[in-house]
Symmetry: C2
Subunit: 453 residues, 2 copies
Amino acid sequence: MADYTKVTLDESEIPTQWYNIIPDLPTPPPPPLHPGTREPIGPEDLAPLFPMELIKQEVSQESYIDIPGEVLDVYRLWRPSPLYRARRLEKLLDTPAKIFYKYEGVSPAGSHKPNTSVPQAFYNAQEGTKKLTTETGAGQWGSALAFACAQFGLECEVWQVRASYDQKPDRKTMMEVWGATVHPSPSEVTEAGRQILALDPDSPGSLGIAISEAVMRAAPDPDAKYALGSVLNHVLLHQTVIGEEALLQMAKVDETPDLLVGCTGGGSNFGGLSFPFLREKLAGKMDPTIRCVEPAACPSLTKGEYRYDFGDTIGMTPLVKMHTLGHGFIPDPIHAGGLRYHGMSPLVSHIYELGLVEAEAIHQTECFEGAVTFTKTEGILPAPEPTHAIAAMIREANRCKETGEEKTILTALCGHGHFDLRSYEVYLDGSMVDYEYPEEKVAAAMQDVPVVA
Amino acid sequence: MADYTKVTLDESEIPTQWYNIIPDLPTPPPPPLHPGTREPIGPEDLAPLFPMELIKQEVSQESYIDIPGEVLDVYRLWRPSPLYRARRLEKLLDTPAKIFYKYEGVSPAGSHKPNTSVPQAFYNAQEGTKKLTTETGAGQWGSALAFACAQFGLECEVWQVRASYDQKPDRKTMMEVWGATVHPSPSEVTEAGRQILALDPDSPGSLGIAISEAVMRAAPDPDAKYALGSVLNHVLLHQTVIGEEALLQMAKVDETPDLLVGCTGGGSNFGGLSFPFLREKLAGKMDPTIRCVEPAACPSLTKGEYRYDFGDTIGMTPLVKMHTLGHGFIPDPIHAGGLRYHGMSPLVSHIYELGLVEAEAIHQTECFEGAVTFTKTEGILPAPEPTHAIAAMIREANRCKETGEEKTILTALCGHGHFDLRSYEVYLDGSMVDYEYPEEKVAAAMQDVPVVA
């Protein structure tokens, strides 16, 4: 069809393997280190937190890993996800650029997160885990894990960042409908939470703190494990179903992207869309520019240092080499709660250092301006996180208008904003503020980052 | 595939015609009457409110009406919608019944409503309308019209029932993102609203009042028209895309429904799914039982009288013959705001009188109990309205467990509940109440229903 707006795939075209980019990279990413010994960690260090299959995937050198049939059965509830061409937006912007977006908001939890929560719950159930613990910022990941645990009969206990817990009671209720128990973080139920509350009883929380609490709850309990919604290799691996489908869909309409844009918080949405395209780029089959977009108030890639740091705030996790603003850094309360993380996926960080992808940072008012334009033209109301990708895509479309370039842009629209309308209200009533990059707060946090030889 | 969970259609299988059931009925539905003359109304009576193409569709004797290409282009954003088999729910219920559900929550507004808001906005834009006014209860219809108006460049002004306006600010913001202006109803901006507020300054509002306000705003303005989200023939006509797709999808998996269940407020979701199946039944090609499900607190079909009444509370609309609890009846504040309507679609009422469909009424706690079970097993969290269909479907599946019957049940899941989590919270914390049928309030309201010879 010439005038397509949506590119669909048949159910039989859901990918049956996840793609692991590590073997295809010119150099492997640096290993995680034990926080005590500073030696590379082994599987036994991760065993209290993760089932063995996920630990294997975390360090796998295989390029492709089969997706279990039980996982595909659940994926089928919403996959293949649609790819759209944003013709109405193109027309409004009067741009020669062709704008495509891959939409993951069709999942039951409303984002790309179930692509990994489902296999994580599955492998845990298979290995006898009874309960999964986790953190959630905007609530997307907590919802996704609650949904997945319900599918495989696991208990689910979630620490929701306090600011989000208070502002988004609907996300909490949604998790509860799927059967999860939800705590605000910092909470009184873990030592990590009590430590933070002792210092600041009104702490709005952060992803780093919530991670500490969830890890602390799971580690000593033989029946419980921990699940992480981003950052780690196996999480990015699971998300590659997005990019594999998008490759097929772009091919169906004879298009090759000149530019891919995705928002980055922990990196899983970005990696999920871009890694299969990066494979093609490394193989010389296409040559897209691949761009991360992050919040100007929490710019780990564009302003952070690339060095070993903790993944959580308290310093319980392994040391991972990544772009970091310091594990003690608590970002300003921007509306994109899912991007309020002090670090970046070690794999995305490594690939950025290799010069294979680029990054830019954008303020939230520009993001919401773009999102409102997008919603009016394309109909779908985005979550605050992907508004960053939309703003970057609009910047590029406007550049194309100036230069006359007919670039093909592919954007990751990783979730809907049905639980984020309060942030749109703030934008529409003119009271949204932009937070400048907090240079001094970051410098202070960087003081506490361990020095690793 | 033997173990299908989702039945998809190709984009080329989106219906290209709407189905009009009226010519296939043994007798035609009684005509609407002018409220003054009590004579059947003509097109000129409706012209201040609706564009001519919709008036033609309202009284059409054609069995099929072509869907314009511009409408199909927008439908394609979310259509064809998926049909699922609820295998996980069947397993939990341990029922021999096969449960299918057609899911309309994939639309940008989150329900089946855009199936009619899009053509309504299109025909209005084509005939020069600048602004559409409407009412909304739960917010689904207002969102759908705001979305559609944004697609065709129309202004949109919505009266949202006060109780919903206060409880669901997110729905209001969503409409505003699409560019609509939203008033609480009763409002101070119309004479109808001021009349109600004079009697009861704390009025929670009702769909009937909000209709009066929206009609009063549009009628005298040559640039404005009014759009209704249910009840009328042309609205049910547009919704038949649901049933036409479902017929194809059931055929793809070699299934014929023994029972169809859909919730009824104004009747458009129910009519949309069931009319194409009723066509097949009338033609002797299948013989499903077709069942309406309504709230026990607002049971227009099972308790209302079949007689001429006004569609709105103030009495501005034509008189239509329908099952009514009295146009002055204000239903108790059940959570399914979209089902809080004193009447029923005249077409569904007529078909019910003909004995072609049956009806039952269910209390809301049973509905939410079913919805939580459904969400845990199937993943999708339903809006409060279709929880009625889910509860009825679970009743039937449990009956099948007792009798051993392997019935095939098809359920209309007309929208998601992302903006209705507050009602789930009330259910989960045990504070949800059931309202008994308000016999005296209805008897009082019926006193004011005009007597038509």
